[in-house]
Amino acid sequence: MKLECHEANHICDKSQYKEATFWEKVRLNIHLIYCRACQKYTARNTKLTKAVKNPKVNTVSKEEKADLQELLNKQLSGK
């Protein structure tokens, strides 16, 4: 039942991608009650996820990238 810190961090990483199982999350939360270091890690990890998910962060879609690449390739081969 007892969780080592590196395992806790691993579960925390997984839960950032919604890949942790229910039991893993329960165990992580119990661990977080008494472990300061992992609390800090989890807080930062969640913050990072939120930052990346922020709608103000724009990604260029695959198609747009392909278009750009094609344009560039044309110019490159024209040289």
Binding site: N9, H10, D13, K14, Q16, Y17, E19, R44, N45, K47, L48, T49, A51, V52, N54, K56, V57, N58, T59, V60, K62, E64, K65, L68, Q69, L71, L72, N73, Q75, L76, K79
Partner: protein, 183 residues
Amino acid sequence: MADNQIDATQWVARYSDYLFNYTIARVNDRDLAKDLISETFLAGLKSMENFKGDATERTWLVSILKRKIIDHYRKINSNKGKAEVRINYDDSESEGDWLEERVADKFDRTAEDQIENEELGTAIYDCLDGLNEKQRTIFRMKTMENFDTEAICNAFDITPSNLWVIIHRARKAMADCLENNWL
């Protein structure tokens, strides 16, 4: 001394997201930003000989992009006066109401929030650039492009536990970097 080499074939993959966020924060229009970036890449190709290698490729591209953005604003500015905007009161009831009263007051967002959010994209891609090649691609695929763990493992021929170690290191580096550069 040419410390930095140009590899134009990698431009789109490596810099388009960074440049895109940089542009969006300044022009606030997706399509326009895309146009500006493709113009930048083309201009970059044309003046490749002038690249001395003192700065990194990205810095060099950003300096071209900046010029493109300035040019864009110049162009808009010269169109000024051609279009006139008239705002009339809809009915006599509201006559005497000032225009200022009609503008939505975004009191829930401070100017600081706004700036933080606009710059966040650039900060993230800046930090992403600091990771090593493998961490960068895998973190991107997993976090931004939402690939399955399995798909990434197959593509890179690694085990899931390898993947999670890479993700863990990448996340740690990203969190450190963002904490220093952004928050």
